[in-house]
């Protein structure tokens, strides 16, 4: 990358990243590489404030990827940097295998994005707004206007002025605008904003259908529940830094979890379990015990708990493994970071 002040891809950086990808970096890299989005050491400052801080992000192709973080964490800024809406102060980045901003024209040709609240010319109809955007793309984009409008469910309102659209309809129009370029990569910044429950369901289904077509969808959001339902993988960003990333199932698998036990004598069961070396935290509840197991505890520990209780003469009626939700995991990760400071 040769952008102003952006440091070139260095061999010393990111040894944990794929060496195959780094070895053919910059111009020679294959456009159909493994990663839809790839950033290394990306930094964006606003004065003293570092909005994007040394971000290492790898988004696999063909999945729904959640980019999570609290408000002000730098999610939108990263997206703006990726799309060339603002420049990076340092680092390298690739979209669909093309270095940006050097090859932004080729890279963005197959990228669709909504950044912040989608806004359009209010005095024009939805169709006319899309005509303006299609004209800036390849000639074939003009022919995708009607299908895109139909796909997002506003074809019947396509000839109404955008000033008469609801927030949800503008959000849909924004998605339609993304589809004009037949994108391989969609970057949606808070796409659920302004949508009613039915609209959110539609949006979720649409994202899934886009992924099923082989497209990559990057979803920036603070709505953890929506991300958990929609995405295959996530990255957690806090204060400009990516602190965790990976497939949701694998991230949660490594997190702490709870085992709920319904048994005959909870108080005695508590004493039995506190005498073990599992490192568990046990609470007595009216319906039994709630046992919290630390991160990276193997599932065999559940069987071991059962064995200890049965051998201690406790009748076990129910033993349930409660996996932490993404929201619980997110809060535990971010609160731990906050406590460490």
């Amino acid at each position: 990358m040769t952008g102003s002040g952006v440091r070139p891809l260095g061999a010393e950086r990111n040894n944990r990243m794929s060496t195959v990808l780094l070895s053919d970096a910059v111009d020679g890299r294959a456009a159909d590489g493994q990663w839809a989005v790839e950033t290394h050491g990306l930094i964006k400052r606003f004065g003293e404030n570092v909005a994007v801080n040394d971000v290492e992000l790898l988004v696999p192709r063909g999945c729904a990827f959640g980019y999570l973080g609290p408000n002000g964490a730098g999610k939108t800024t990263l997206i703006r940097v990726l799309l060339g809406l603002t420049h990076a102060d340092a680092g390298t980045m690739f979209l669909l295998g093309h270095a940006v901003p050097r090859h932004r024209d080729v890279a963005l040709a197959r990228v669709g994005a909504i950044v912040d609240e989608p806004r359009f010319h209010g005095h024009l109809t939805g169709r006319q707004n899309l005509q303006i955007l299609a004209a800036a793309r390849e000639p074939a984009a003009e022919g995708r206007i009607a299908p895109a409008l139909e796909r997002v469910g506003i074809l019947h309102r396509a000839d109404d002025k955008v000033s008469k659209y609801s927030m949800g309809m503008r959000q849909r129009l924004g998605v339609a605008a993304c589809l004009l370029g037949d994108p391989q990569l969609l970057i949606l910044d808070e796409p659920m904003n302004g949508l009613d429950p039915a609209g959110m369901l539609d949006m979720r289904d649409m994202i899934k259908s886009l992924v099923s077509e082989g497209r990559t969808v990057v979803l920036s959001s603070h709505l953890l529940d929506e991300v958990e339902r929609t995405c295959d993988a996530v990255a957690i960003v806090d204060r400009g830094t990516v602190i965790r990333q990976g497939p949701i199932a694998q991230l949660l698998a490594g997190s702490s979890f709870e085992v709920q036990v319904e048994c005959s004598d909870p108080d005695r069961a508590l004493g039995l379990l506190e005498g073990t070396s599992f490192g568990v935290h046990v609470q007595v509840r009216p319906d039994g015990l709630a046992i919290s197991l630390p991160e990276h505890t193997e599932r065999d520990a559940i069987a071991e708990i059962n064995r200890v209780l049965v051998e201690g003469g406790i009748a076990v009626y129910r033993l349930q493994h409660i996996q932490a939700s993404l929201e619980q995991w997110f809060l535990s990760v971010t609160s731990r970071l906050g406590a460490s400071e």
Binding site: R16, D32, R61, C63, L85, P118, G122
Partner: protein, 399 residues
């Protein structure tokens, strides 16, 4: 920390192949806008109802209403109301209204074209397409000019048509019906045969008039009485011979010949072409400066106000008041330069005197001296500078 490279990435789906050849060859990175970009930008501007109403009202509506009122008045009462068209109406309408307000509405269109993508949130969508930002900027110029110049052309064509086809049938010079196109000797001869009209109506620009030259149209309390019009305009009763009257009429006709020669029944074709190009250039300047300034500032209101101040206050002020230490700065004002390339035969804009071809005619205030070459360079510099400034800001602005 668990990173995505520590775990298996999701199995890719049937991702579309790499960037199609069509996209690679659509010159998306080129600074040259496509026809589609220009035409959709034109549509975006054309659909702005308020802007179009203002543009039509100034360039077409007000001149048409003005001429229509004159046509009707003349048709109803031709003795009280003069012809709707003609040379004097043409020059007054062009320099007194279309030139000045044509610039202002063109500037408003330019400011709108330069700022609405930002203020209405479309700039971000356009940048995300990967299209060159310079091409996005340049697409606005032909689109905006297509609207502005078309409006100017329509309004101006109507004005020309009315001024030609509804022109007076006789040349009225200083209130006297005079044959058109007379040579100096012919005008002298005509003055000999019409001494009273000449003496009583033509302007006298010399020293004190010779005494005893009467004006036969003087109306005293006891009927027509010979009088003479002094430079101060007072009518003085005198007693002179007819020969003296004729001689003085010839003198006055000679003094007024150059002024008479520049007075026509209808504007000539060459004058109409020159003036049309001149006001089109003024509108072009208004649009491009407005576009660049609004792109620089990222808004519409302040640039519009600044350009109105430039056109209505600064230009008239600096075109006539020479400030010795700032004279070159004054010459650098585009409005001052435009007055210097004004087609001959027009009165100076901003309330100047008679025809002077930009230099201020008899009775007009003197303009700051500036060569045509220097004026042309100033105009070109304004267009290029503001286009470059707007394009630079468009390329560097955070979207």
């Amino acid at each position: 920390m668990k990173t995505i490279s520590d775990v298996d990435p999701p199995t890719p789906g049937t991702a579309p192949a790499s960037i199609p050849t069509q996209v690679r060859s659509d010159h998306r990175g080129s600074w040259i806008p496509t026809w589609g970009m220009v035409s959709t930008r034109l549509m975006e501007l054309r659909k702005r109802r308020g802007l179009m109403i203002a543009l039509i009202a100034v360039n077409i509506g007000i001149p048409v209403v003005f001429l229509a009122v004159r046509l009707v008045s003349h048709a109803v009462d031709p003795k009280s109301y003069g012809a709707a068209g003609g040379y004097s109406i043409f020059t007054s309408l062009v320099t007194g209204f279309m030139y000045i307000f044509g610039f202002i509405v063109a500037a408003v269109v330019g400011c709108t074209a330069g700022s609405v993508d930002l203020t209405e949130g479309m700039f971000r969508h356009l940048v995300i397409t990967g299209r060159s930002r310079l091409a996005l900027y340049l697409a606005r110029i032909p689109a905006g000019l297509a609207i502005v110049i078309a409006m100017v052309a329509i309004g101006y064509t109507i004005v020309c048509a009315v001024c030609v086809f509804a022109a007076p049938t006789q040349l009225n010079y200083d209130g006297v019906v005079v044959p058109q196109g007379l040579s100096r000797p012919a005008l002298d001869n005509w003055a000999v045969t019409h001494p009273d009209e000449v003496i009583c109506n033509f302007n006298y620009n010399g020293p004190n008039p010779p005494p005893n030259v009467p004006c036969g149209n003087g109306n005293g309390p006891s009927g027509p009485t010979p009088v003479v019009k002094t430079p101060q305009g007072t009518i003085v009763p005198v007693h002179v011979t007819r020969a003296q009257i004729r001689a003085f009429a010839v003198t006055m006709a000679n003094q007024n010949y150059s002024d008479y020669r520049a007075t026509f029944l209808v504007p000539s074709t060459s004058l109409m072409i020159d003036v049309g190009l001149w006001i089109a250039l003024e509108a072009t300047i208004g649009f491009t400066v407005g576009l660049g300034l609004a792109s620089l500032m990222g808004q519409r209101t302040v640039p519009v106000i600044l350009l109105i101040v430039l056109e209505l206050i600064l230009t008239p002020l600096f075109s006539r008041h020479i400030i010795p230490h700032l004279v070159n700065l004054e010459r650098g004002i585009v409005g001052v330069a435009m007055v210097h390339i004004e087609p001959g035969g027009l009165p100076t804009p901003f309330g100047g005197g008679g025809p002077g071809g930009g230099g201020g005619g008899p009775g007009g205030l003197r303009l700051i001296p500036e060569s045509t070459l220097a004026a042309s360079l100033v105009i070109a510099a304004w267009i290029v500078f503001w286009t470059a400034v707007g394009a630079w800001r468009m390329r560097t602005r955070d979207a």
